[in-house]
């Protein structure tokens, strides 16, 4: 996913931001893939590209074997019910002039031919399932608290019985106490409806709680992807190691002895990324080869994938079914 940079009087294209570059991964049915990384590394762009809220520059996305990377217009619109998104800002992502009932029922309006009573019934049962009082149906989003608004957002995403939901930092804008409620709700819904999640977050402990596999992004690329426990217990990529060392420890005894890996310098501009490995400018274990050759992802067994020259490429990657993206 490249975004053009335009400048000057005539708005000529002078370059491009490689927001997401050469990313390829699978999400298996019924699992939660956590996607973590620092601000601006392209997490949200990945989520939006998968749902085709952006037109991808190159590559392919497939859901259930159906390629959706290049389709558009009404073909894409007909695919929408299968894939939905829960947005980060529950206030801004709800139309302030629509009541809760019309927000939740609008997808039903577009994609189904239910009668008005059935629609209302469906809205009511959706509100029940996300723990909102049905009586609030005719209220406006601004009359709810942040957690309740996020529940509205989730109810809306569930309206069309999607199989795959991208959660784009759904808890980042909420209080910690409310975060737990929303996370539990997402877990319950997954168990009940067999949903598949792509859970984008920068909260490493929440991802550890929720995800079955975790992908770590840095500057538009996935640097490491592994099952949750493998990743948290034995991170291989130097960036993942640094990232995990930043997670605070609740036990003050252990917190005092926590060894932090402090990265020096700033993230390079995605408009002008380093030539070799994107992390070579800040990597504590940088080698000469890192500055010239971009590392290829290597499989370390047990579904653990790392893109780093410290771990030379081994066997090739198996291609599984599920959601696959390359943007």
């Amino acid at each position: 996913m490249y975004f053009p940079i335009v400048a000057g009087v005539f708005r000529r294209k002078v370059g491009e931001v490689k927001a997401v570059d050469d990313v390829s991964f699978d999400i298996f049915e019924g699992e939660t893939l956590g996607l973590v990384g620092e601000s601006g590394c392209g997490k949200s762009t990945v989520g939006r590209s998968i749902l085709r809220l952006y037109d991808i520059t190159a590559g392919e996305i497939s859901i259930d074997g159906a390629a959706i990377g290049q389709i558009s217009g009404s073909t894409l619109r007909r695919m929408r019910p299968a894939m939905q998104m829960v947005f980060q800002d529950p206030q801004a992502s709800l139309n302030p002039r629509m009541t809760v009932a019309s927000i939740i029922s609008e997808p039903l309006e577009e994609h189904t031919s239910l009668s008005p009573e059935d629609k209302l019934d469906r809205v009511g049962s959706l509100m029940d399932s996300v723990g909102l009082n049905r009586d609030f149906m005719n209220r406006y989003p601004h009359e709810f608290s942040g957690g309740q608004r996020q529940r509205i957002g989730i109810a809306r995403a569930l309206a069309l019985n999607p199989r795959f939901i991208v959660c784009d930092e759904p808890i980042a804008a909420l209080d910690v106490s409310i975060q737990a409620q929303v996370i539990n709700l997402l877990e319950d819904l997954q168990a009940e409806l067999g949903l598949t999640y792509l859970f984008i977050s920068h909260d490493l402990s929440m991802v550890r709680h929720l995800a079955s596999r975790v992908a770590v992004m840095y500057l538009g690329k996935i640097v490491e992807l592994a099952p949750r426990d493998t990743l948290y217990e034995s991170p291989r990529h130097p960036y993942t190691q640094a990232l995990l060392s930043a997670v605070p420890e609740p036990d003050p005894e252990r917190e005092a002895h926590r060894e932090r890996i402090i990265l020096k310098g700033d993230v390079p501009s995605p408009a002008n990324p380093p030539k070799g490995c994107t992390f070579c400018t800040r990597c504590p274990k940088v080698m000469d080869v890192c500055r010239t050759v971009p590392p290829a992802p290597s499989l370390l067994g047990d579904g653990h994938e790392v893109a780093c020259h410290l771990y030379p490429s081994g066997s090739g990657l198996g291609n599984e079914t599920g959601t696959n993206t390359e943007a």
């Binding site: 809220l53 929408r80 302030p96 002039r97 609008e106 809306r156």
Partner: protein, 336 residues
């Protein structure tokens, strides 16, 4: 909302009284003379007697009080009598009279109102009808050739004064092409298709000159408001729902964008009643704007005072309407 409206209406009473007093003071301080337009052969002592007979000998607070009685008591009673046919008191009340024409000011206003409402009001409506689609398309296709052209036309409409565009249109369409009459005929009555067609032809030029000006303003507001809303998260939500693009644009974005634009439109309506003074002069439409100009030139203080005050009432009133509309359109705003 009802309580709020009543409270606001009550609050307008002192505001309007204050405005009327300020206007009265300003007119009194202005160095004009109701006898200034009379022939120079009239001797000074006769002029002085004319002034005395107009009541200018009284001190200012007495004159202001008398105007208040005439305007706030006598005129409303008079209107009530006309509407209901009832008789209040003797019916022999002093009305606000124009010094120049010796006829009641309210009658003059009622006479002039239709021309102004037709020409200026129509131009406002036409302006809005043109401006909203232009604003919507300009924002949706930002930086496209349509947007650039729209911006250019808005700049022209904004910056070129109506006395220039009006005269230009007269030169082109009346003098050279001879399509439309250059003078608006107020006595014209619409009786059949032919006279209707004549009415349309004589309205086209003044209406389009003013509509260009109005559309320039409103389309800019519309575009800015649309751009503001197009980048909001809820638009992305709507697209993610799989809503059709026209619905995204017209239901989600346009409805939210119209909130500030409707306010701007409501606030502009008093200007319609005020008439477009310059444009009415150019096309010789004898509407309210022209009446005001004549009144000012002839130092016709009761006429100017009453007209200015009515404009002030309309402005205050439409401000209230704009506030109430905001409350109706935007569910986030509630008045207590």
């Amino acid at each position: 909302m009802l309580n709020y409206t009543i409270r606001r209406l009550l609050f307008t009473i002192p505001v309007l009284l204050f405005i009327s007093f300020i206007v009265f003071l300003l007119l009194d301080l202005a160095p004009n003379d109701p006898t200034g337009n009379l022939p120079l052969t009239i001797p000074p002592d006769v002029r002085e007697r004319i002034r005395q007979s107009l009541g200018l000998g009284e001190p200012i607070h007495v004159r202001y009080f008398l105007w208040c009685v005439q305007f706030f008591v006598n005129e409303p009673l008079n209107i009530l009598e006309q509407w209901t046919g009832l008789q209040f008191g003797s019916g022999d009340r002093l009305r606000v009279q124009s010094w120049a024409t010796r006829s009641p000011v309210v009658d003059l206003i009622v006479e002039r109102m239709p021309q102004t409402l037709w020409v200026v009001g129509m131009s406002y409506v036409v302006g809005i009808i043109i401006a909203i689609p232009i604003g919507v398309i300009s924002a949706y296709r930002q930086y496209s050739w349509f947007d650039q052209a729209g911006t250019f036309v808005s700049m022209v409409g904004f910056s070129v004064p109506t006395f220039f565009t009006g005269v230009l249109m007269i030169v082109v369409f009346s003098v050279h092409l001879d399509w439309f009459p250059s003078i608006y005929d107020t006595t014209h009555r619409v009786t059949d298709w032919q006279s209707f067609w004549f009415q349309v032809r004589q309205m086209i030029m003044p209406v389009s000159v003013l509509a260009l000006f109005n559309a320039a303003q409103i389309s800019r507001f519309m575009r800015a408001s649309m751009l503001d809303n197009l980048s909001q998260d809820y638009v992305r939500t709507a697209r993610a729902k799989g809503v059709r693009e026209p619905v995204v644009l017209l239901v989600h974005v346009l409805r939210n964008s119209l909130i500030p634009v409707v306010t701007v439109i409501a606030l502009g309506i008093p200007q319609v009643f005020g008439g477009a003074i310059i444009t009415e002069q150019v096309f010789k439409v004898n509407g309210l704007g022209q009446l005001l100009i004549i009144g000012i030139q002839g130092a016709d203080i009761p006429l100017v005072q009453t007209l200015t005050f009515i404009f002030a009432v309309l402005i205050v009133f439409f401000n209230l309407i704009a506030d109430l509309l905001y409350g109706i359109l935007d569910p986030r705003i509630r008045y207590e």
